[in-house]
Symmetry: C2
DNA sequence: AACTACATTATAATTGTTCTAAACTGTTGA
DNA sequence: TCAACAGTTTAGAACAATTATAATGTAGTT
């Protein structure tokens, strides 16, 4: 369990003021055993469940974007009209369960290292993401 | 250059009526040398450029979804708030140029075959997609 | 304490997409 | 051939996710 002062230091070091709202969001995001894959709505729900006072939706968006910009969150590309975020900021890939809309981390051993043999002239690789969509056997494709 | 009657047959075989609008969209989508990666907006623009009479945006959406359902188009997952489609329906991966927002096909030899060594119990793999984001060297990450 | 820049908030605006329901058209078979 | 019907198109409304706005609040500095 991470102490509040650690969050305060981390925020200050990033040039973000440690406000009440940001600290609460830190708790919800980072005070957990396992990786949290979430949409803004998931996060807002987690917040309101664990909190008496409320945080404005705009602040949730602002904070998630600030944390992403500072590298404390990753955004995951899923074919959907909503964004997913990830507290696991290491390079890793995902399974996406189409039945439950849940992301599952791929671990080092789950997938062989991606070896890209071509490069685009004048361009640098910014990220490589593998998304493996899964669903129950008795599910219609796509 | 594909003849109009071929499109008519293809549509009829799929249980889709060969309407004026669908045939025009077929022309724009499939009467080209190279793969077309597009957003609905790109397609609507291409249509209005090549056409005197106009096609309703709702029809463009309807048709693209119908074609996707019939397997004539693929939808590509990009971290963005808009959907991308692909006339290349083979299994393949993509580079995404963040400077221009253009997709580039990965060919067979560009990337080693993805080898997934883990499976999710009770779930079947529906798709495996690799997205390699690229940008100019002097670009800020993500 | 006062100042200032940064942050929060409610709410409006924007954007991509889907829905609706009325008008239209391709197909069928009497 | 043509009426009937199901499928299709359409404009515009509705919707959902996200971003912008601008007023109010607050953390950090002096
Ligand atoms: Mn989609
Ligand atoms: Mn959207
Ligand atoms: Zn993850
Ligand atoms: Zn492609």
């Amino acid at each position: 369990m991470i102490k509040n002062t650690e969050f305060i230091d981390k925020l200050r070091l990033s040039g973000l003021r440690p406000t009440k709202q940001r600290l609460k969001i830190c708790e919800v995001l980072f005070n957990r055993e396992k990786t949290f894959h979430f949409t803004i709505n998931d996060l807002a729900k987690s917040i309101s469940e664990q909190l008496n006072e409320k945080i404005s939706l705009a602040t949730v968006y602002n904070t998630v974007h600030a944390f992403k910009d500072k590298g404390y969150l990753k955004e995951i590309s899923i074919n959907s009209d909503k964004s997913y975020f990830d507290t696991n900021i290491s390079n890793h890939h995902h399974f996406f369960d189409e039945d439950t809309n849940q992301l599952i981390d791929c671990h080092e051993d789950d997938i062989e290292k991606i070896n890209i043999k071509r490069n685009i002239t004048g361009k640098k690789i910014k990220s490589v993401e593998v998304l493996i969509k899964v669903a129950s056997d008795n599910q219609n494709q796509n």
